[in-house]
Symmetry: C2
Subunit: 259 residues, 2 copies
């Protein structure tokens, strides 16, 4: 899940040392420092072994590519949904969130402060790791900060297969974790997923656009409760519904938190 990098901006460190905080335990408050993990040394050795060499194609001078834009693989229904929410941006109720290959701030003005997140890291965001357009995840997210809602139009490509012709249950979990988590990030602050509970209601076919809708349910201290569902483009078929519990792992709000 995406999260803020403001701490990294203040204290830049070599990427081979995982800067992420500990994934929140179900019991809130049990947040162990990641550097205490027995994997610390192993991870560093693995990253230095040559396997995770520079696979990022972005030169220093090139601005990061926003992948949350229509391309030739998008179905007419997918483009229709995108255009519908793009029009809603005009009155300020909804805003499109850009999407990149590496884990970076969701707000563009912060990008220039985290150039090392875009190069020499050798990693890719799980949802953006397929080069060919249309073969993996195609999606764009729109945020309504006032209503604390996030909507995403999604197309599952043929490389996300589980049952023949249908999306893998893990790919469905992946887009739900992302949509719910990005909403929590944008509205509350830097969070980690603590629990994800998914009811799979009907299979998601590879190809047609579906809509993922999420809303902030409530917060209790550092706990952030978010719900979401995946429906067919016409709204007639409920494919999956999910509840997510995210833990705010730094009480300071994001500077760029939507007002």
């Amino acid at each position: 899940m995406l999260r803020s990098c403001s701490r990294l901006v203040k204290r830049p460190i070599h990427w081979t040392v995982p800067p992420c905080g500990s994934r929140a335990a179900s019991s809130v408050g049990v947040l162990k420092p990641f550097s205490g993990s027995p994997f610390w040394g192993t991870t560093v050795r693995w990253c230095q072994s040559g396997l995770a060499k520079n696979h990022c194609s972005l030169p220093d001078s090139e601005p990061p590519k926003d992948y949350a834009l229509p391309n030739s693989s998008w179905s007419p229904e997918m483009v229709d949904e995108f255009n519908k929410f793009t029009k809603l941006e005009k009155d300020g109720t909804w805003r499109k969130l850009p999407s990149y290959r590496n884990v970076i701030e969701v707000v563009p003005e912060k990008l220039k402060q985290v150039p090392y997140m875009l190069k020499d890291r050798g990693t890719r965001l799980f949802l953006r790791n397929i080069d060919e357009e249309g073969m993996g995840f195609e999606y764009a997210m729109f945020l309504n900060p006032t209503e604390k809602r996030l909507v995403s139009m999604v197309q599952f490509g043929p490389y996300l297969e589980g049952p023949p012709g249908c999306a893998h249950g893990g790919s469905i979990a992946t887009i739900l974790d992302s949509v719910l988590g990005v909403l929590a990030l944008c509205v509350v602050g830097r969070v980690m997923t603590a629990n994800l509970n998914i009811n799979y209601k009907s299979p998601v076919p590879l190809g047609p656009a579906v809509l993922v809708e999420s809303k902030l349910d409530r917060t209790e201290g550092r706990k952030v409760f978010v719900t979401g569902e995946i429906r067919s483009h016409d709204g007639q078929t409920l494919h999956a519904e999910a509840e997510g519990l995210f833990i705010l792992w730094e009480n300071l709000p994001l500077n760029n938190k939507p007002k």
Copy 2:
């Protein structure tokens, strides 16, 4: 999740028509036929549009490649675990399950009956969609049919990133859905995921081997309850724990069900 293709063997159909049954509703018994979905026509049009052309590199004469074997990207700890369970195969308590790019039977002798699953489909199993060794999921599964347990050694590659340096919550959900689902498939029969509930306890770093262990908890009619967890290679760190509910969508057991 993998599942049997025996129905397809009996009635081969063009791959562009999703042959999967309806994903089981949480309320068991509400299994609508997939062909009644409003997506039916849209899916067929999308598949015929040229996007999902043949991306499968397997010629007719070539046997399918089993990806659940050590390669140069595997860490020493990953290879150690693989070798440990390979030795346990000798007394018949554990057996290694092969893993392919397309959704096919888990038992090799069935492969020759489903050649159309290996070619001209343009799809890939979600967990096997990265060409470069070590960049995506690296894993092998071993089944203990008597104890109804399945163990998988897993390495999360740099293209599965969520938080910087760590596995995406969706990639963790993906391997859990797969391990729990394959166990249910092997021990009970063809199943669909109905519910997946994951507690994320501590982050999974990209690189080091982890162990995913699952066991069949119980069955109630067509409901199959499976639990699982992800631990560090040395067993000291609990990364995630999961409960899965799977629905047996055909009462006939697999012919190749492990005895």
